[in-house]
Amino acid sequence: MHPAKSVIFFTTASGAGYGMMIWLGVLAALGEVYPDASLGIVTLGLAFALIVAGLLSSTLHLGRPERAWRALSQWRSSWLSREGLAAIIAFVPLGIFAFAWVVMGTNSGAAAMAGLAGAALSLLTLYCTAMIYASLRPIPAWHNGWTVAGYLVLGPMSGAVLLTAIFHLFGQSKPAAITSLLSLALLATGLLVKLAYWNLIRNEAPVSTAGTATGLGHLGKVEMTGSPHDNDNYLLREMGFRIARKHAEKLRTIAVALGFVLPFLCLLATIYLTGGLMPLLLSALATLSCAIGLAAERWLFFAEARHAVTLYYGEQAV
């Protein structure tokens, strides 16, 4: 599948934004974070900014953005519709939570309830995003449970890493310690999930073949000798993306090293190097590295996914 920058940006940015919201809601409910106004403005503001930027980027890339509201109507059957609805509904409790924190100076009691509701709806939105991909049967690399696990873990993971850096920036070592531990657990889980995912897509038996696509399999090997068109068409541009195996391996190494291993080591080090600017620098490095690694991971998620239509254009199996 063509790795469109807008979708890569949307899924990684809003994933991190929702991840931050989830942990802010949980920390507030546990009474582990003081409702300091400037801390609220920066954390909640950044989370909102990431979510909105992601949603906007995906909306603006529609063929007809002015009709985007129509996408909310088919929640009975469509995961894309459900995602849009969940995202919008989540804004209500998240808005109340943010208002209570920043303006009224409280994040406990009713505000914490709103925060928890917002956290749950954020997780639900991530689940809907995952299901948009996981429900597409023509793309076996997406049509599996590891796709869902990936979105559900990587969003909260990147959110926790980002929050850790901000807490250190504000000298909030108590919540920072919690999100550090969360980050370490989620970075380890996230890496395992992605390794399992890559293992699956590499070794999975093909679902469809050129033989089943044409129904000519009983005649032997099926090869295209004549294409319907001389130039690339929409199908080939959108779904015929191919990535060389050695490039994929390189990117996988980058995704593993920068997305998971380096942030893990940095945050592990903050437990021991507590003096001065070290925790802030290390957690900022963890955030930057994680962002680059996840962009590579998401790029691969698209680039490595092969679509059944390619079977009509020379691919032997997907």
Binding site: R76, S78, S208, V222, P228, N231, L235, E238, A308, V309
Partner: protein, 249 residues
């Protein structure tokens, strides 16, 4: 509504005979021709007279070569268009209700007035039957020539899809595949018509008829290589023929 109808009254669709198709692309061209002025108009072209012409088509003709273990090959021309699936995944994924399947005849259509151009339906179709129109910002696909098959301004015999009426070889048939007594259903039954990628669970309505087995030169049922001389013997010939034969030989 992008929920699929429980059942449709008819299952209108196409039957493509791969034994007959000669790969002339006439169906694809006439599809373009009809639809460039019909419901889905304009059927956009990009750079039509330039170096890299490209555009939206509802029907594409591929050519495949099969090779069996013994090395015997066969060429098969293969038209590919929307199969108007019973369990159409392109419909259920649509967030706007622009994609829908008609209850009365099972035709799968896009309402271009509400499509937002999210392209998700084209990802959900395993067969590449949907092509996005960059200029219009909406998705387009085969309409089963809905504005032709029901068009009362046309004589009855013309009320078939453009690709069917234009095929010079007669490789395409149109009809109700939900009615076991229809001509198309009988054709499918007689020739072992099949579904493309049944494992994708889409339950296509359109069917393909397999190429008939080719002779590989080893079997004895070949056509004679040379005509036998029919006049070598006078046995059974008429009186005048025998008399002429006698004079001449």
């Amino acid at each position: 509504m992008t929920s699929l109808p429980e059942k449709t009254d008819k299952k209108l669709g196409l039957v493509v005979d791969l034994d007959i198709c000669v790969g002339c692309h006439a169906c694809a061209v006439n599809c373009k021709e009809w639809n460039a002025g019909a419901k889905s108009a304009p059927l956009t072209d990009y750079d039509p007279y330039g170096k890299k012409p490209d555009g939206v088509w509802f029907n594409r003709v591929h050519t495949y070569e099969t090779t069996d273990e013994a090395g015997h090959g066969q060429t098969v021309h293969f038209p590919r268009s929307c199969l108007h699936c019973e369990d159409a995944p392109c419909v259920t994924v649509c967030p706007t209700g622009a994609s829908y399947k008609r209850e009365e005849d099972g035709i799968v259509l896009v309402n271009e007035d509400i499509c937002i151009g999210c392209k998700l339906c084209s990802w959900a179709c395993p067969y590449g039957a949907r092509e996005y129109d960059e200029n219009e910002g909406v998705m387009k696909k085969c309409t089963l020539c809905i504005d032709k098959i029901y068009n009362e301004n046309l004589p009855q015999e013309s009320r078939v899809p453009a690709c069917v009426s234009t095929c010079p070889a007669g490789a395409r048939s149109f009809g109700d595949l939900g009615d076991p007594e229809s001509e198309v259903s009988k054709l499918v039954a007689a020739r072992g018509g099949y579904d493309l990628m049944p494992e994708q669970g889409t339950k296509p309505v359109n069917k393909y008829l397999p190429p008939r087995p080719r002779q590989d030169g080893r079997e004895g049922d070949k056509a004679p290589r040379m005509l036998e001389h029919a006049d070598d013997s006078t046995e059974g010939a008429g009186l005048i023929a025998r008399w002429v034969d006698k004079i001449l030989s």
